[in-house]
């Protein structure tokens, strides 16, 4: 049986500096994988490279979603194929309201002639915003403009809920969230868990994993996955930090591509 999502030997560089140095990962349908690691080990580069951020150049490897290589696709095609990246630093876009933006995104999936009706869309968006305890005003605010860090993160989750992706990557979704917001975001993610959808959660802290239980935990260092285990690995990292991993593997400097 083929995996829902698979990364094979992924190498990626920014401004000529190689950050990902041959990364492999396999995620089956319905699974939740967490990637943990100290700062500067390539976690966000992994997320951006999968999604196709223009600043990152993939130099080798494959990223397969249901067997199709997404690296051959444009960024929009990757999204339409079922990838979703909740970004660490979502863009602010003046003049484009949250509602207009999301309606365009939904209609891009539905295709010309099959656009969602305004009423149906508004109901859908209002419903999801309620679940995330978001102020209804945010519907008509310019996209992320003037949103607090926590509001931006909730807005990312809102998009995830409305776009119904197959593979969700959450890049540091917990940073900048207080505990109440974290619980709401986690509830939103948990409500989306299903046998057809998988999650890749990139995080610094194990805190988030108390609320979203991962099936597998991976540690990233030097642009590779260096250790994998179950949820107990995250707990040990939280309790003891990363030094024991470095010691075990003989790693002196875990970072990659730093000046």
């Amino acid at each position: 049986m083929s995996s829902l999502f698979e990364i094979r030997g992924l190498r990626s560089a920014i401004e000529g500096k190689e950050i990902l140095k041959g990364l492999d990962l396999k995620i089956d349908g319905g699974q939740v994988h967490a990637i943990m690691g100290p700062n500067g080990t390539g976690k966000s580069t992994l997320a951006s490279s999968i999604m196709g951020h223009p600043k990152y150049e993939v130099t080798d490897g494959e990223v397969l979603l249901e067997g199709a290589d997404v690296l051959e696709m444009g960024v929009d095609e990757r999204a339409l194929a079922g990838l979703f990246l909740a970004m660490q630093y979502p863009s602010e876009i003046t003049g484009v309201t949250n509602a207009d933006f999301l309606r365009s995104a939904i209609n891009a999936r539905r295709g010309e002639g099959n656009e969602i009706s305004l009423i149906k869309f508004v109901r859908l968006m209002e419903g999801k915003m309620k679940e995330l305890e978001m102020n209804p005003e945010f519907m008509h605010r310019y996209l992320n403009e003037g949103f607090s860090g926590g509001e931006k993160k909730r807005n990312e989750i809102l998009q995830m809920m409305m776009l119904d992706p197959k593979l969700v990557i959450l890049d540091e979704i917990d940073s900048g969230l207080d505990i109440d917001a974290l619980k709401i975001v986690a509830a939103g993610v948990n409500a989306m868990r299903s046998s057809e959808r998988s999650f890749l959660i990139i995080t610094h802290y194990q805190r988030l994993l108390n609320y979203i239980k991962p099936d597998f935990v991976h540690v990233m260092m030097q642009g590779r996955i260096v250790k994998s285990g179950g949820p107990e690995l995250a707990e040990r990292l939280e309790a003891e930090g990363y030094d024991w991993v470095k010691e075990e593997l003989g790693i002196v400097d875990e970072t990659v591509g730093q000046a």
Binding site: G52, V75, D76, F84, S91, T94, V96, F101, L163
Partner: protein, 435 residues
């Protein structure tokens, strides 16, 4: 009917004025301006060689047909209007005002809305006290030409303390390239009054007009103590026409002006919008958008001059440049000596969509007083790649992502247009220009 002529003089100005039966004071006033028009120099906008433009155009007096009912206006105009009656509407067609409506309710409050030509007779004192006192007849050749030739025009007077909820609408329309199309809009808002004025200037001249239409227009707003005026304007003339528009506001104590302007003309453009913050505590807020297309050249200047203590101004200009269009965008904040606690801010942003287009943003602060705040920000750039990536990561195509970002860039002004019909019209023009 006279024929278009390029020679202009004192005699021509007087003859035209007499032929329209204008009062003696105005004949003499125009005569003097005609003299200056032949002797004064053109203005010299930064990096815009307007001496190469066809500005020595007088045009012919071609009054439109006056109508009693809105429905009898030319179809091009009625298409722009809401079906129901509005409280206040005035329409200029080519060289004259052809329709005016003012509700009885507003008349009863003492509000005056007429053509400026009519007001020169009926409200001589008010007109003489204000006409071209903010924009001087002898400022340069174009102002003198304007003074000598202005026709039709709008006079709006809002009495002391009167608050008008519904916007006053003006349509200025030309479909004859040989016509003299030189409207002057004069707004006098008396103490503590409030009014919104929405002006839409456009033309339909056809493919190969027989002459260059020179729209040499002026707007003067006088906001008396405590008065508040919102002035929205959309300009959209044919690419063969030239749009010269000088806007001026003089603000008394605690008065306020808001300029909301869409410079969407398809041809060469010279516009200069200036607020003179004379009174203490007066405020000015200018929001201007523009889209440059084809090979048009534009000079867009916004100014605020502070005299009053604690006076505040903010100016925002956003322009999208396509094809081989050129725009020189100047923001000039001047704080005079003695204007303590004044605050002048400005931002110019230009979005470049073509390597052959040019957009210069020139923020200028001229400060002659120490105890003030002033700031400026200017940027010229392309569509932000990070923003495009973000939208595309949600499945939106590159084309649609760019369209959303470009329209969004202009939205802070578009969404402020106070009349829905004009706002929709503006959106249609934007769709076409940005298309």
């Amino acid at each position: 009917m006279s024929t278009p002529t390029t020679s202009f003089s004192r005699e021509a100005a007087a003859a035209l004025s007499r032929s329209k039966n204008e009062p003696a004071w105005l004949v003499a006033w125009r005569e003097e301006a005609g003299e200056w028009a032949s002797t004064l120099e053109l203005p010299q906008p930064e990096k815009t060689p307007i001496q190469r433009w066809t500005l020595d155009v007088q045009g012919a007096h071609r009054p439109g047909a006056a109508v009693a009912a809105k429905a009898d206006l030319p179809a091009t105009i009625t298409a722009q209007l809401p079906e129901q009656d509005v409280d206040a509407l005035i329409v200029q067609h080519n060289s004259s005002v052809v329709y005016t409506r003012l509700s009885d309710e507003l008349k009863a409050k003492g509000v005056v809305l007429t053509s400026l030509e009519e007001a020169a007779r009926s409200h001589e004192e008010l007109v003489r006290a204000h006409l071209m006192t903010a924009y001087a007849r002898d400022e340069h050749k174009l102002s003198a030409q304007h003074a000598a030739l202005w026709n039709g025009g709008v006079f709006l007077y809002v009495p002391r303390g009167v608050v008008i909820e519904e916007p006053i609408q003006a349509i200025l329309f030309a479909d004859d390239a040989e016509a003299t199309f030189v409207p002057h809009i004069l707004v006098v808002a008396d103490a503590n009054s409030q009014v919104t004025f929405v002006e839409h200037t456009f033309s339909e001249l056809g493919e190969n007009p027989s002459a260059t239409l020179l729209h040499n227009a002026a707007v003067e707003v006088f906001a008396k103590p405590g008065a508040s005026v919102r002035y929205a304007s959309v300009h959209h003339l044919d690419s063969t026409a030239i749009d010269v528009t000088y806007r001026r506001a003089i603000l008394d104590k605690d008065a306020r002006i808001e300029w909301i302007v869409g410079e969407l003309h398809d041809g060469n453009t010279l516009v200069d919008t200036k607020s003179i913050l004379k009174g203490n505590g007066s405020t000015s807020d200018a929001k201007i958008i523009s889209v440059g297309t084809g090979s048009q050249r534009m000079s867009i200047t916004t100014r605020a001059v502070h005299y009053g203590l604690s006076s505040e101004s903010d100016m925002i200009t956003r322009a999208v440049m396509k094809n081989e269009a050129t725009a020189i965008i100047n923001g000039i904040t001047k704080i005079e000596k003695g204007a303590t606690k004044a605050n002048g801010q400005q931002t110019e942003k230009v979005l470049m969509l073509s390597p052959k287009a040019r957009g210069d943003a020139n923020p200028i602060l001229l400060i002659d007083e120490d105890d003030v705040k002033a700031g400026h920000a200017a940027s010229v750039g392309q569509v932000n790649a990070e923003q495009v990536y973000y939208l595309m990561s949600r499945g939106i195509s590159r084309e649609e992502a760019e369209r959303l970002i470009i329209h969004g860039f202009l939205d802070p002004v578009v969404s402020e247009i106070p009349v829905e019909g004009v706002r929709e019209q503006l959106q249609r023009i934007l769709e076409r220009k940005l298309g």
